[in-house]
């Protein structure tokens, strides 16, 4: 599942989208509410994607393979 803002793109691996524990964890760690938790599934709140502060907390809560934060202004460089 990938959602792009103007400056930031969020790519969540399909394999973890239905994981309710990961959904809750992502929602808990993100300081700018990019992640929601819709009925136990990972949800990306489109309107908040560009608020990303590149803090990596979502990556640290999962793994660089499971969640990618892409800098669309920098040739989609991935925050790793």
């Amino acid at each position: 599942m990938r959602v792009d803002g103007t400056f930031i793109g969020i790519d969540v691996a399909d394999a973890i989208v239905d994981d309710s524990a990961i959904a809750a964890k992502l929602r808990e760690v993100c300081p700018v509410d990019i992640y929601g938790d819709a009925e136990g599934k990972v949800q990306i709140v489109e309107g908040n994607v560009d608020e990303c502060v590149l803090c990596r907390l979502c990556i640290d809560a999962t793994s660089p393979e499971q969640v990618k934060v892409l800098k669309l202004y920098d040739n989609e460089a991935s925050l790793a």
């Binding site: 560009d50 502060v53 800098k71």
Partner: protein, 403 residues
């Protein structure tokens, strides 16, 4: 924050400086009762935060309580420079021998209060300073160390006042200095300070301005005076543009973005950081620019908040370009502000490279910010470019566009 005259009088009175037996009221009938209590001729003064009261008919003399009532009724309905009166002050018509001036004002350059005294009162002190400079005494003093009587005495004596008047004026000026410091005033002025026939001194009028940021330290005083938390005491009502700015700023708790003041220029400003906004505003004016607004941005606002401010400024009629400039920032992220202002342009269908005259915000996360700006072709500057240089480039660009 400005105080009404009746409030300023109360502050003076609390400081132990003699005042007249005045009364404040919003009711003509009560004005009559106050005049009767005074028992002599009175002066009825409109309580508005505006100058020119006398000229506008907001100050009238009454020989009887009935006349005081009639004057109060008229004055309470009289708008002066767009302000309706808060009430009227009923004051004894003083018979004095001489008017003096005593004031303390904050000197922003020296970062110290300065005491000013003149044996010529009842008129603007600026006029006295221009026409008879030897009749104006000045002295800066510490707002940390206790103020000594000798300091007041020096200021008074420097104007040629001696003898009994010098001795009687000294404690009044000392109390005024203490009042100024204790209440975080930016202006504390008694004009006129009158010498009565018996040689005593009485404050006949007073003007007080308190540092806005200090309101929280003086809640009890403000409560005693009946000043509500919502009373901004601004010189004019906020414009629709300024109210919209307030709305942007209040949209979330993160940072400051949207505290705007409206002007009629063509260069929109998104500026701030540690006094940078004032410096930048002045710099834009110095280089011939015409600011469309003054504002503050800082404290790390969200992208949407920075975007909201930039959209507001860009949408203002007459704005051709915006300049995004701050001093060097430690906590406000350059990349977040860059995203905000570029998103504003894009959402309004504008080209960021054309609409943003210059972006000069060095500091936290500047490398990320500069990458964003490069992507959209926006001219940016790092810390090697001074605030003045950035301001002059913005002005050149907007003047070039207009030519």
């Amino acid at each position: 924050m400005r105080f009404f005259e009746y409030e300023a009088r109360e502050i003076v009175k609390r400081a132990g400086i003699p005042v007249t037996d005045y009364g404040f009221t919003t009711d003509p009938q009560e004005a009559k009762e106050i005049a009767a209590r005074i028992g002599s001729s009175t002066v009825i003064k409109s309580q508005v935060l505006s100058g020119g009261r006398m000229k506008a008919g907001g100050v009238k003399f009454a020989d009887t309580p009935e006349e005081a009532e009639a004057h109060a009724k008229d004055i309470l309905q009289l708008e002066i420079n767009g302000h309706m009166p808060r009430g009227v002050l009923v004051d004894p018509k003083a018979e004095f021998e001489q008017e003096y001036y005593a004031g303390v004002v904050w000197d922003g350059t020296r970062k110290q209060p300065v005491m000013i005294f003149s044996p010529i009162g009842g008129i603007d002190i600026e006029q006295v300073a221009e026409e008879q400079p030897d009749k104006v005494g000045r002295r800066h003093f510490s707002n940390i160390l206790p103020f000594g009587d000798f300091e007041a005495k020096e200021v008074i004596a420097s104007t040629g006042v001696t003898g009994s008047a010098l001795n009687k004026l000294t404690p009044i000026l000392t109390k005024l200095a203490k009042l100024f410091v204790d209440n975080d005033m930016t202006l504390a002025e008694i004009n006129p300070l009158a010498r009565m026939a018996d040689g005593s001194f009485i404050a006949l009028d007073a003007h007080m301005d308190m540092e806005n940021e200090a309101r929280g330290r003086h809640k009890q005083l403000l409560k005693d005076l009946g000043v509500g938390d919502d009373e901004t005491r601004e010189a004019r009502e906020p414009t629709a543009f300024e109210l919209a700015g307030e709305a942007v700023d209040s949209q979330d708790h993160r940072g400051v973005a949207g505290n705007v003041t409206e002007f009629d220029g063509n260069l929109g400003l998104v500026i701030g950081a540690g006094g940078g906004s004032l410096t930048l505003f002045d710099a834009v004016r110095k280089y011939g620019g015409r600011p469309a607004n003054y504002c503050e941005i800082g404290g790390n606002p969200s992208v949407s908040k920075a975007k909201g401010l930039a959209k507001l400024v860009l949408s203002k009629p007459g704005v051709d370009k915006i300049a995004v400039m701050m001093s060097i920032v430690s906590n406000t992220r350059v990349d977040i502000v860059a995203r905000g202002v570029i998103a504003a342009c894009l959402e309004l269908g504008m080209d960021p490279a054309e609409k943003i005259a210059i972006f000069r915000i060095p500091g936290a996360w500047e490398e990320e910010g500069f990458k964003i700006l490069e992507k959209y072709g926006v001219e940016y500057a790092d810390r090697s470019v001074s605030l003045h240089e950035a301001a002059s480039r913005a002005v050149e660009k907007i003047q070039g566009a207009a030519a």
